[in-house]
């Protein structure tokens, strides 16, 4: 069972109180973008075995969206963090680096700011 702590209400919410919102930190390509960019924005998703960043909503709770970083292989949760950011916060990156030295995910990686 997956348990994530909602950063807004501090509740340790169990999976059934949450709604999964897919991959985190997508950059939207809309009008004016190329066909390839729009295609990738719509369809291309990370499917890592290891460190992953996701969006979740505390649906049966405060109703807020937030971000979570976890390991898809062990289900270990590195932490949850605010939705008001378009990149993983330094704090969460540091937490991951402490447990998975050398981690990478899309353009983000251990030691890379």
């Amino acid at each position: 069972m997956l348990i994530l702590e909602c950063p807004y209400c501090g509740v340790k919410a169990e999976e059934t109180e949450l709604a999964a919102g897919g991959e985190a930190h997508l950059k939207r390509f809309g009008p004016g973008s190329s066909d390839d960019e729009f295609h990738d924005y719509l369809f291309m998703r990370e499917n890592p075995k290891g460190v992953h960043f996701e969006r979740w909503r505390h649906a049966n709770g405060c109703g807020k969206w937030f971000h979570a970083a976890r390991c898809t292989m062990t289900l270990e949760v590195f932490g949850t963090y605010t939705a008001q950011t378009s990149v993983p916060t330094q704090e969460i990156q540091d937490k991951i680096a402490a447990k998975r030295p050398g981690w990478t995910w899309r353009e983000f990686a251990d030691g890379k700011k």
């Binding site: 807004y8 209400c9 501090g10 509740v11 169990e14 059934t16 109180e17 049966n60 709770g61 405060c62 109703g63 807020k64």
Partner: protein
Amino acid sequence: MSKAVSVLNGAQYTGIAKVEDAGLQGMITLRGDLGSKALKAAVKAATGAEVPAQGSVNVAKNGAVAWMSTDELLLLVPYEDAVAKTAEVAEALKGEHALAVNVSDARAFFRLSGEGAREVLGKVSPVDFDAAAFVPGQFRRSRLAQVAGAFWLNEDGSFYIVCFRSVGEYVFKLLSTAAHPQSKVGVY
């Protein structure tokens, strides 16, 4: 005007805990900046209670305030005062980025009491109801089996439960089933 009645008009069930339709309850949803001076004053004036800390409820003599999220409170006031108090709160928050809505008739309100209260709620909600984990004054939004619901624990060991009125009958039957006299598990 037609006579207002609560969702199950005072229905009760007694098993390992007592489930009661707690009757008509005035409820006002208030969204805004919980740190704002004007909002704090308006909440105090409407309910007699202070803005609660995260995840808790403050109960006063004739009202209560529950923490719903970082920008939302649920004000509990006498049913017959809800319309007037909603207008007062809205008036007091004029010019603020805030919204007060009377939701009394959109909600159902239940009381769950007795020895088995923690256990009954524990059967239908994914929340830790251990005496050390869930204490009086604590307020939690979660789910009651398949529907959204919120509840808090009173000093006397009873719970008040709030849900949408449209699922009020479902919640009453759900709690009653979970309170079946021969269904004691004995975890809490």
